[in-house]
């Protein structure tokens, strides 16, 4: 910067020159930019209004002194302007090194720097300063000036933004959930620690190098695309809690719970962010729980079988007692009776073994084409004796002309036997029916089904507690007379047929069981 300073030696002070000086002073004092000028003797010659405002020091107390350092530093030291006057580049570099010193791009011989002045203002001030030498026509330094710009507010703002940015990044980075963000072309921009843990990649291997589809299995990629652009799992553009598989570094599918949202800027899709939760642990716990449940079921089964076998053993022992007694009495008739007892118990063992095999799916069903009415009649004939000796009437209501149905004849025979036998028991076990017990067996074929068997009784019915436990293995209300396997086995057989077993019961009013078999049996896996 050059200001023309008329030489004192010059005789003629032109009116024009004075006006120019006045104008220049006016500019300096009126400028909103804080500015100070010192002369070559390091004495302050200008200290403008903005500088007063910035520093709290008035021009009146400052001008003519060398206190230019005072508002800025705790101790006396040269300012940039002082050093420019002294042309002491070494000291400039030394003192201003940590103040982001650089040569001014605007003013030749000038310097710029930025610094925090803790001394200035109640909380310190960030200043950008620009120092320039003032030379005369001959290029001799006559003084120097410094302008200041307070950028504390900008620093505070930037700090705030930086802090909130760091907070968000921290949040993303330290989330246990995996967080992955992509650009519009699927390129991965954020891949946090959680995602790295789940998928076995380090963020550096992924960010900017891989695209989202590369970590998706084919099915998952398709499902995600479909879900994002439909309202199937949350509104369009969002996916809420979908189970999906992502590929880890070894390309193994990892089960995750997947949520995500497409990102838009001015209605244009610019990327997506997805959140993933590792489901491996959940799946493992689920498996463990299932295993524990299986073990508990096995325990119950073993206890139930042991209990039932104990009953049979009692029968066998009784038979042996009777036979022994008969032998000692040489009573051949009693031997026969005792032997009959033994045989009946052997039959019971055979029966429970069959039930167990059906229940454990060890037995292969043998499917044949069967006339449902013929089968039900057969079972009813078998049960007639039990019913009449218990004073229960069997009512037959068979719809003629029902089509043949493919079924495992032995299995369904067993189911019907179980249901009818149960129905008779319901009428007699408590002795309450006193000969008024009725069990009716019905067939028909509702639309979509091959056959519907309906077995109803007017017996004791079941309370809610009993109904709840109905299909639990080895649950029986018949004391030692029931294995508690009848209904679980029936259910199992019906399920194997793709059929339906349902019941309706009211305590003291009776029970109706419905067994439906499909028109077309489900195809076997390797049919």
């Amino acid at each position: 910067m050059k200001i023309e300073e008329p030489s004192r030696d010059q005789e003629v002070w032109g009116e024009e020159a004075r006006r120019q000086k006045k104008t220049a002073e006016g500019i300096i004092y009126g400028s909103p930019i804080p500015m100070l000028v010192i002369d070559k003797d390091h004495k302050i010659s200008f200290w403008n209004n903005a500088c007063e405002k910035l520093t709290g020091f008035s021009s009146k107390e400052m001008i003519g002194t060398d206190r230019q350092w005072e508002p800025f530093y705790p101790r006396k030291r040269p300012t940039l302007a002082d050093l420019l006057i002294d042309d002491d580049i070494e000291t400039i570099k030394r003192l201003y090194e940590d103040m982001n010193l650089r040569k001014s791009p605007m003013v030749e011989g000038g310097y710029e720097a930025e610094h925090f002045f803790p001394h200035l203002g109640p909380e310190g001030t960030y200043l950008y300063l620009n120092a320039a030498p003032i030379e005369d026509d001959a290029g001799n330094i006559q003084g120097a000036m410094i302008t200041y710009q307070d950028f504390s507010e900008r620093v505070a703002m930037t700090g705030k933004i930086k802090r909130s940015e760091a907070f968000v990044l921290n949040l993303i980075e330290n989330s246990i959930d995996g967080i992955i963000a992509t650009g519009s072309k699927g390129n991965i921009g954020i891949f946090n620690h959680g995602a790295a843990e789940i998928l076995g990649y380090s963020p550096d291997e992924i960010i900017g190098k891989m695209s989202f589809p590369e970590i998706l299995s084919k099915e998952t990629a398709m499902a995600i695309r479909e879900s994002f652009y439909s309202d199937r799992r949350g509104p369009p553009g969002k996916i809420i809690n979908m189970e999906a598989h992502l590929l880890n570094k070894s390309k193994e599918p990892i089960p995750v719970r997947f949520s995500g949202t497409l990102l838009y800027e001015q209605e244009k899709e610019v990327g997506s962010v997805v959140f993933i939760q590792d489901l491996r642990e959940v799946h493992r716990l689920q498996k463990e729980k299932e295993q524990a449940q299986r073990m508990a079921a096995i325990g119950r089964t073993v206890a139930g079988v042991a209990h039932y076998i104990k009953n049979i053993l009692t029968g066998l022992k009784g038979g042996a007692y009777v036979i022994n007694s008969a032998i000692s009495k040489k009573d051949l008739e009693l031997v026969k009776e005792g032997w009959g007892m033994v045989e009946r118990n052997i039959d019971q063992i055979a029966s429970i073994v069959t039930d167990m095999l059906i229940y454990s799916k060890e037995r292969t069903p043998d499917y044949q084409i069967v006339d449902p009415n013929v089968l039900l009649t057969e079972v009813l004939d078998l049960m007639e004796e039990k019913a009449s000796s218990a004073g229960v009437t069997l009512v037959r209501d068979l719809q003629p002309g029902i089509n043949m149905v493919s079924m495992d004849r032995t299995g369904i025979h067993r189911c019907l036997l179980n249901l009818i036998s149960n129905a008779i028991d319901a009428c007699t076990l408590e002795g309450i029916m006193n000969g008024k017990g009725r069990v009716s067996a019905k067939t028909d074929s509702p639309a979509g089904w091959g056959v519907r068997f309906e077995i109803s009784d007017n017996g004791t019915g079941m309370d809610e507690k009993t109904q709840e436990r109905l299909f639990t293995d080895f649950f029986s209300t018949k004391g030692y007379k029931g294995t508690g396997l009848g209904l679980p086995v029936t259910q199992q057989i019906v399920n194997e047929h793709g059929g339906k077993l349902a019941f309706e019961s009211r305590a003291d009013q009776g029970t109706t069981f419905t067994l439906m078999l499909p028109e077309k049996r489900l195809p076997e896996p390797f049919d």
């Binding site: 104990k310 022992k317 007692y321 009776e337 007892m341 218990a390 209300t477 004391g479 007379k481």
Partner: protein, 135 residues
């Protein structure tokens, strides 16, 4: 002295056969009935010295028969031993049931059985209980 008569009431033919064999081997005379109704009729007509009574039977349960026996002057003095196959599963505690302490109900005249024996029946235990009841 003529042999003592014991009426066995049970719908399970195997149980009847076994119990009667045991009792016969010890010199008792046995009569059997398949359900509570038949049991009640035979109790009246035969006038047994003791009744072995099953709990769950068709037509008339053991409990119902017990109450009928108590209500009839011809049968009220006959001692009864309950033969129970009921496990804890049904939730019935027979001792409590007959003492009436849990229900507090005494509206029906009832016989308190002389004894209880659980299935599977142990022959020696049976004979011990029978002798005690017949004393």
């Amino acid at each position: 002295m003529p042999p003592l008569k014991i009426l066995i009431v049970d719908d399970d033919a195997d149980v009847v056969l076994f119990l009667s064999t045991v009792l016969k081997d010890h010199g008792y005379l046995t009569i059997d009935a398949q359900d509570g109704q038949e049991g009640l009729e035979k109790a009246k007509s035969v006038q047994p010295d003791l009744i072995l009574l099953d709990l769950m039977m068709p037509k008339k349960s053991g409990i119902s028969m017990l109450s009928d026996l108590a209500g009839d002057g011809a049968t009220e003095k006959i001692p009864v031993i309950m033969v129970t196959g009921v496990s804890g599963e049904t939730g019935i505690d027979l001792e409590t049931f007959f003492r009436g302490s849990s229900t507090g109900k005494q509206d029906r005249k009832a016989i308190i059985p002389e004894g209880f024996i659980k299935k599977p029946v142990d022959p020696e235990e049976l004979i011990r209980l029978v002798r005690k009841a017949l004393k």
